[in-house]
């Protein structure tokens, strides 16, 4: 963690040094120089995308975790006909690249819904959330499955013999144990969602990447603006991975008890 920080800090210093020392117009940090009025308003504009990116990621992740569990549970049934739809969903969804799925949801889904007599409009925000949530749910479903199947079968058997139903067995016996193995990879998956949310920019969602693109068009300083953009994601992801490590340590120390 601290080593990663040091490496990135070093890289930043090198970039800045290169920017200050080189002649000509290779670097033009003035576009995002907070000491000038123009630079300051540019930086504000770029950073203004944080909230949308965070909102997008959080809602998509929450949906993905819910859908994932609903897909994973029937996927572990003894009955193959109950298992089948879950398998098909996972294999199908995880083989679709995010960008085509985003286009399909944003441009195609409203047409399908309209033809079925449900005229809904999907804005960029919800189009992105639906796509991210569905695309990610195939992976969270597999994380749940691995976590739940790592709990010995004897636990389920013991729970059933003291009279618990399937639902109660899951809720009181299996999931509380599986959650320790599920949460860290699930939190990791959240990092993936944050990064993939950049795709929302192509359907016009005003998040971090979209704002950077728009500023590049007016300022024509791609190097500086995209460098800052990368830094913005870096900060977000570092915060999350710090949280993931903390979670893993907490879970790990619980496990040893």
């Amino acid at each position: 963690m601290t080593r990663t920080l040091k490496i990135w800090g070093l890289l930043l210093v090198v970039l800045l040094a290169a920017g200050c020392s080189s002649s000509g117009n290779t670097w033009g940090w003035y576009v995002i120089d907070p000491t000038t009025p123009q630079g300051q308003s540019n930086v504000k504009f770029l950073i203004g995308g944080f909230w949308a990116t965070i909102q997008l990621s959080l809602i998509a992740a929450a949906l993905s975790m819910t859908i994932g569990l609903l897909v994973a549970l029937p996927g572990m049934s003894d009955n193959r006909w109950v298992r089948l739809p879950s398998r098909i969903y996972i294999e199908f969804v995880r083989s679709i690249p995010l960008l085509p799925m985003l286009f399909w949801v944003f441009y195609g889904l409203p047409v399908v819904m309209k033809s079925m007599g449900i005229p809904i409009s999907i804005d960029a925000f919800w189009g992105a959330i639906i796509t991210l949530a569905i695309s990610d749910s195939a992976f969270t479903a597999e994380i749940y499955r691995a976590g739940i199947q790592s709990i010995p079968k004897g636990q389920t058997e013991a729970a059933r013999t003291v009279g618990l139903t399937y639902g109660q067995t899951m809720r009181y016996v299996v999931l509380p144990q599986a959650i320790r193995r599920i949460l860290p990879p699930l939190a990791n998956q959240f990092i993936y969602i944050v990064k993939m949310s950049a795709f929302a920019s192509v359907i016009g969602m005003q998040e971090l990447t979209r704002r950077a693109n728009e500023l590049v068009v007016t300022e024509y300083r791609p190097l500086e603006i995209y460098s800052l953009l990368i830094l913005e994601y870096l900060v977000l992801v570092l915060i999350i991975s710090f949280f993931v490590r903390w979670l893993e340590r907490k879970m790990g120390s619980d496990e040893r008890r």
């Binding site: 010995p152 004897g154 636990q155 058997e157 013991a158 729970a159 059933r160 013999t161 003291v162 009279g163 618990l164 139903t165 109660q168 009181y172 016996v173 509380p176 144990q177 008890r257």
Partner: protein, 247 residues
Amino acid sequence: MSAERVIEISSLNKSFGDFRVLTNVDLSVSLGERIVICGPSGSGKSTLIRCVNGLEQFDSGHIEVDGISLRDKGSAERVRAEVGMVFQQFNLFPHLTVLENLTLGPMKARGLSRKDAEDLAMTYLDRVRIPEQARKRPGDLSGGQQQRVAIARSLCMKPKIMLFDEPTSALDPEMISEVLDVMVELAQDGMTMLVVTHEMGFARKVADRMVFMDSGEIVEIGAPSAVFEAPKSERFRAFLDKILHHH
């Protein structure tokens, strides 16, 4: 025996693929009867008692437990309400305290209040002589203590019948007797018990009938005194030879 029949097993068959685990097993058990089942590993003895509370499905034949046929849909739940089970690996819930392990079933399945469930749990923890461990996690207990907790957990559901699937096989030798003592007391209280075990001393002491299984069949069945003194089949004689010399 003229007492009430609580378990009736007839012509039970079960295979895993090509492998026949149970072949034409017949067994009826009366209320209060103690049956000890022994046999070499893979002989189907565990599978047999797991069929009794519906943890295993069977291919053909009939099992009736306390008047409930296990062929009926949804019968496994009703049968499990009457039948407790103790496993070789204890299968305690590691994320719950000992007390919570005992109260989970009574509270969620029977709808008891926490207070009533805890009173019930403490009664049975007293009976298995570890009330002082109530607030600990199973992982902090010895194997013998864990198995006694598992027995208490089953008893909290007030079962009519108790199944034991090699309850002492995973224990260190010095802990076997503390578990067997609890089981002997249970037998003396008149509990109907089906016990899969190789503890022949226990069998001699409490069993009304001994069942010897081999290759999925019941080879020999009878009072322990009779079968130990004069095993009829060569297979049972060889088996007894092996396990008695081993001990």
